[in-house]
């Protein structure tokens, strides 16, 4: 088909897989009792190499590999780089916050890296079978990581809840895949895009779209499917939440973009209003519920639901503008959300001695740097200018307006104001003078090593760059958006319609 070797098309995934295997092998060969922290560095290095490999993929011509099951394009590179970046920061964060004597460090790092394989592959897949397998890889990794604090009651509860509901949601996606295969006779996304409009059974295509949307919207925790989010985030260790609230969501949003814009572009009039409604529900329910939370992680969980809503508003936009805005928002959201969970991890530790908002009281006096970072990331989540959150919201709402959904942008803006209330509550708590009996004086012992400083630095830099000079990233997102449009049907594919209509009544 083309001169590029197939293996180059999945180079980042291959590197990540090899890293994961290496971590497992080294872990098994180290004598028990020896610290496993160095494995984290192996995993981080491998992820960094995978990041560079994804950037290198830009030099490849846009095209597919492995019998048109994966694709490399600016779109996939954008999400690959984003996911590798998130995973790298999460690994650096884990390096300093995982308990030294943990028996499971080796498995932890391997799971994170293998999960990254699934997420990266999910963004590159243009074949629904690969999509399903990649989604399962990333999901199983996060199910297990969510239950990593086995000694607490909440850890296993989070894992079980997430696993059961997640499997249920994936079953919906799979059902949708089966129906679209029944309607078109193929699982290749480009072929489906060409065949679906002329499919005999149009309602089967609609049912497939609906079922697939259920599966994907669960993964991004949009509102009718959000119930798992607060419990899981509360039970999972903070460094894991930093990862699972961003990287799998970025991958799921990439899949959503692919499904709606590339696979069903002709059904725009069906899915655009649907996603707008989900966007409004996610923003409103997420923000209203977050207002009532006293636990920091639960509050941030609801905030992430609201952010999924802001992001879905971009899907009301037309073609390229919508895709670019959504991609940009994913990047901005990832930068600030990883950042705030990194701060939460450093402040309250792996075992979460300080889970409540009032525990954060006086943080800025105890540690001006951490307090300042907390307020900085909160400002970005609010959407204050010069932070990534501002431009994310700006592009997302402009895309909605461009698509004719002015009401959506207005609701989004009102919601942003509502959201400021609870973000500021945490910010004020951090800025208040500590009284003697607050948690911070009780047990405040941040473990800030080189790795965690690097992680925070990356998150701050990303948030600032997206907020001050968003041009480059926006340009990358726009280039990616251009490559996501479905190709026009070729002659052979049109003939293919006749031969691949399997079920003639």
């Amino acid at each position: 088909m083309n001169s590029v070797p197939d293996i180059y098309r999945i180079l980042p995934e291959v590197i990540l897989t090899l890293t994961g295997v290496l971590v497992m092998l080294v872990d098994a060969s180290l004598p028990p009792g020896l610290p496993r922290r160095s494995l984290g560095w192996v995993a981080a290095t491998g992820t960094a190499v995978a990041y560079l490999a994804s950037i290198w993929q830009l030099s490849l011509p846009v095209g597919t590999g492995f019998y048109a099951t994966v694709e490399t394009s600016p779109f996939t590179v954008f999400f690959h780089a984003l996911i590798c970046g998130i995973v790298l920061v999460a690994l650096l964060l884990s390096l300093d916050s995982l308990p030294e004597d943990s028996h499971h460090q080796g498995e932890y790092y391997a799971l994170v890296v293998f999960g990254a394989v699934g997420m990266c592959l999910l963004t590159a897949a243009i074949e629904l079978l690969v999509v399903f397998i990649a989604l399962e890889i990333s999901s199983i990794a996060t199910y297990v990581l969510a239950g990593y604090r086995k000694e607490t009651a909440r850890g296993p509860e989070a894992a079980i809840k997430y696993f059961l509901l997640g499997s249920f949601a994936t079953a919906f996606l799979l059902y949708g895949v089966a129906l679209i295969f029944g309607a078109t006779g193929t699982t290749q996304i480009y072929d489906i895009a060409n065949l679906a409009p002329s499919a005999q059974n149009h309602s089967l295509v609609l049912a497939a779209l609906a079922l697939m949307l259920v599966g994907i919207l669960f993964k991004v925790s949009a509102v009718p499917f959000h119930v798992w989010t607060p419990d899981v985030y509360e039970g999972a260790p903070s460094p894991v939440v930093a990862l699972m609230s961003t990287a799998p969501k970025a991958a799921a949003f990439a899949l959503l973009l692919r499904v709606v814009y590339e696979m069903f572009p002709t059904l725009h009039s069906v899915w655009a209003p649907l996603l707008s409604i989900v966007a409004v529900l996610s923003m409103t329910v997420g923000n209203l519920a977050a207002l009532r939370q006293q636990n920091v992680k639960r509050m941030l969980a609801y905030s992430s639901i609201a952010h999924a809503g802001y992001l879905l508003a971009a899907f009301a936009g037309m073609g390229n503008a919508g895709i670019a805005a959504a991609s940009f928002y994913v990047a901005a959201y990832a930068a600030m959300n990883v950042g705030i969970f990194a701060v939460v991890t450093v402040v309250s530790g792996y075992d979460e001695n300080l889970p409540m908002i009032q525990d954060f009281r006086g943080l800025i006096y105890r540690s001006p740097l951490l307090g300042g970072l907390l307020i900085f990331f909160l400002a970005s989540l609010v959407g204050i200018p010069f932070t990534g959150g501002f431009f994310g919201k700006f592009y997302s709402f402009s895309a909605a307006v461009g698509g004719g959904a002015v009401w959506l942008a207005i609701i989004g803006l009102l919601n942003s104001g509502l959201a400021a209330a609870y973000y500021l509550r945490l910010a004020f708590a951090a800025a208040q003078r500590p009284s003697d009996e607050t948690g911070l004086t009780r047990s405040y012992e941040p473990r800030a090593g080189v790795a965690v400083i690097a992680a925070l630095l990356f998150a701050v830099a990303a948030t600032l760059i997206l907020g001050i000079v968003p041009g480059d990233v926006l340009h990358a997102a726009q280039t990616g958006a251009h490559t996501l449009q479905p190709p026009p049907p070729t002659a052979t594919e049109v003939i293919g319609i006749a031969t691949t209509q399997p079920r003639v009544p």
């Binding site: 897989t17 099951t69 074949e127 079978l129 399962e136 890889i137 309602s203 609609l206 399997p502």
Partner: protein, 192 residues
């Protein structure tokens, strides 16, 4: 274009030219009914072992349906992997854990009261959608990839990547099981 055996949408009477149509229809109705009855029984039973045994009925009758569609390999795999290996594991786990009867709580009653009508609704919508557009008819494997040889040819060419990536999926499942099942930090095995 991918040419896999089209095995989706059971629910259409199969029509293989080599065999008598009536016999197929009888077999289809018999095993489709058995499959449905097993599935419903699985949900209604309150003891896990009964549910597990019903699942074997479902799996085996599905295998017969695949066979009627002409997918011998899939039927064999279904019997060996699902009805055989996986179900043995299931019953093993149920017996090892010595799981008792399901407890009816307020939550589970609410779930029943909401869940069953919801399922009926979704089923009704999907059935109407499919029936209205297509009606009842016959289904068969349109491009006839049925033999093991043809199946493996597809598996190692067109579907090579999904096939290979599945190994990562299995690896991560094993890894996760080990990580979750190993003793926690508080209860060290090596007694340090």
């Amino acid at each position: 274009m991918l040419h896999e055996p089209s095995l989706s949408l059971p629910g259409f009477a199969p029509a293989l030219p080599v065999c008598d149509g009536t016999m197929h229809l009888i077999l289809f109705v018999l095993f489709a009914g058995l499959c449905l009855a097993g599935a419903i029984n699985l949900l209604l039973q309150s003891h896990p072992i009964n549910s597990a045994l019903s699942l074997i009925v479902v799996m085996t009758s599905l295998a017969v349906l695949y066979l009627l569609l002409g997918a011998e390999f899939l039927a064999a795999a279904q019997v060996i992997v699902y009805a055989g290996a996986i179900m043995v594991l299931f019953t093993f786990v149920v017996m090892l854990l010595n799981a008792g009867r399901e407890e009816r709580t307020l939550g589970s009653r609410v779930a029943r009261a909401v869940g069953f009508p919801a399922v009926v609704t979704i089923l009704g919508v999907l059935a109407t959608v499919i029936l209205r557009a297509q009606g009842l008819g016959s289904a068969s494997l349109h491009d006839g990839i049925t033999s093991t040889e043809e199946l493996s040819a597809v598996l190692f060419t067109k579907l090579l990547l999904p096939f290979e990536v599945t190994s990562v999926l299995i690896l991560i499942a094993i890894l996760g099981a080990v990580a979750l099942a190993r003793h926690g930090d508080g209860e060290r095995m090596d007694g340090k």
